[in-house]
């Protein structure tokens, strides 16, 4: 069957002309911050890579606490190219979350969240939370000392929230403490629950971006003179960036395969000088700023409440930044965006160095 006959077969049954005309209409403005338009697509590509490598690993990983650690050792030592897929999944996750943070902070600083794109920001925030939980749940599946201690701290911290903390803690842990039940639960989150939510929210997020079109920074709105078609110009540029990212992830995975830590022992004390993954370091450092007791109240609880309020404010920025919604320059929220970005970077570096 020739290409022409195949094309005609589909054309007789489906009207592709409308899709073709829609794709030709999509244009992307050209300006000095245009590089930020590629961060979302890059994040999507890296998450697709995670889905693929994760599916491959799921064929061999055993989500039961007695055998989880051993199954990882078997994947790495006995399976052909097992070490590579595990390394690719590990480094893919790190770089995907890095790309995600660049995308989030880039969007915040150019105020792409402003009217009419508030819901895009909200769906993006939900995707950020899902991705962080992807990282935590995936990390725990190693069932090593470090991951065990990290999950104990993270779920314990969530348990300090007033009113709902106890419920969240027992829901995440599957009980009072972190046990084999927690592993099974986190596996269900990681391979079932979170992927379903991710697909839904990415679909909604992408659909809304197509509906509203590409945002332009307020200061450049009147200066845009050139637009380039998304198909095929911007798409080809997207492919180039994805190829470079793929090359980098593969190279890092080959040169720096991650070690396998000691198997977790629920009865043992946590290892000394333990630190969480880099994307939790800013939270970890923030907790360390607060003393154990503040005027008779639990210092950790106060810290978690303040952090939660900071995160809630972050979510509500599009609804609070009224000036940007009217298309006016908003210096206050520019500084708020810079403060959030700088705080994240500085606290992450401090956490890494201490």
């Amino acid at each position: 069957m020739s290409y022409r006959r195949l094309k005609n077969w589909f054309d007789e049954r489906y009207d592709f002309e409308e899709i073709r005309s829609l794709t030709k209409q999509k244009v992307v403005p050209v300006h000095k911050y245009g590089i930020l338009y590629y961060t979302g697509g890059l994040t999507l590509f890296l998450f697709i890579l995670q889905f693929i490598t994760g599916m491959v690993l799921a064929f061999y990983y055993v989500p039961y606490h007695e055998q989880a650690h051993k199954s990882i050792i078997e994947i790495v030592t006995k399976l052909n190219m097992g070490w590579f897929f595990r390394s690719l999944h590990h480094w893919g996750a790190q770089i995907a979350i890095l790309a995600l943070f660049i995308h989030v902070f880039g969007t915040l600083l150019v105020k792409a969240y402003r009217k009419p794109r508030e819901i895009i920001w909200v769906t993006g925030f939900i995707l950020l939370v899902i991705s962080i939980f992807f990282g935590l749940s995936g990390y725990f599946l190693l069932w090593d000392e470090r991951a065990f201690a990290a999950v104990r701290v993270a779920t314990g911290g969530a348990g300090n929230l007033p009113l709902i903390g106890g419920f969240i803690k027992s829901f995440l842990r599957g009980g009072i403490d972190v046990t084999g039940e927690t592993l099974t639960r986190f596996y269900a989150f990681h391979v079932c629950v979170l992927p379903l939510f991710t697909i839904f929210f990415i679909g909604l997020h992408g659909l809304l971006v197509q509906y509203h079109g590409m945002s332009v920074p307020i200061s450049l709105e009147k200066d845009i003179k050139k637009y380039e078609p998304f198909f095929p110009n911007v798409l080809y540029k997207d492919f180039i960036i994805w190829l470079i990212a793929l090359g980098l992830v593969v190279t890092i995975s080959v040169l720096f395969p991650p070690e396998i830590g000691k198997k977790a022992d629920p009865l043992a004390a946590p290892p000394e000088n333990i630190k969480p993954e880099w994307y939790f370091l800013f939270l970890f450092q923030t907790l360390k700023l607060f003393p154990g007791d503040i005027m008779g109240l639990n210092g950790e609880m106060i810290a978690i409440i303040l952090i939660s309020l900071g995160i809630l404010f972050f979510l509500l920025i599009p609804f609070l930044d009224r000036k940007s919604s009217r298309g006016e320059k908003s210096t206050l929220f520019t500084w708020i965006g810079i403060l959030y970005t700088a705080y994240f970077i500085i606290m992450t570096i401090i956490g890494f160095l201490t």
């Binding site: 095929p232 110009n233 080809y236 190829l243 470079i244 090359g247 593969v250 395969p257 070690e259």
Partner: protein
């Protein structure tokens, strides 16, 4: 006296070498480091060779995409990619 001196010398050697023996054998109880990368020189060679070929492939694809992009931009700048609305059709 001479025998006592030799005996003392050997006792000292034994006493000082015991900790060394102890520390050398204690390593046997340490956790084995799990190899996360193929250890044979042949496997390493193949892996690095494939990595180089992979990068050549990536660079080749990027070059092709850049060439296609340049051609598309050239056509778009001439304006011949836009369809004319009133173009007559041959019956």
């Amino acid at each position: 006296m001479f025998t006592a001196k030799i005996f003392n010398k050997w006792i000292r050697y034994i006493i000082f070498s015991l900790p060394l023996l102890f520390f050398n054998t204690i390593i046997l109880w340490a956790d084995e480091k799990i190899e996360v990368f193929p250890s044979t020189p042949y496997d390493k060679f193949i892996i690095y060779q494939v990595l180089i070929i992979f990068w050549l492939g990536i660079i080749g694809l990027i070059v092709i995409l850049k060439m296609k992009l340049k051609e598309i931009e050239r056509i778009q700048s001439m304006g011949i990619d836009k369809e004319e609305k009133d173009i007559p059709f041959l019956d």
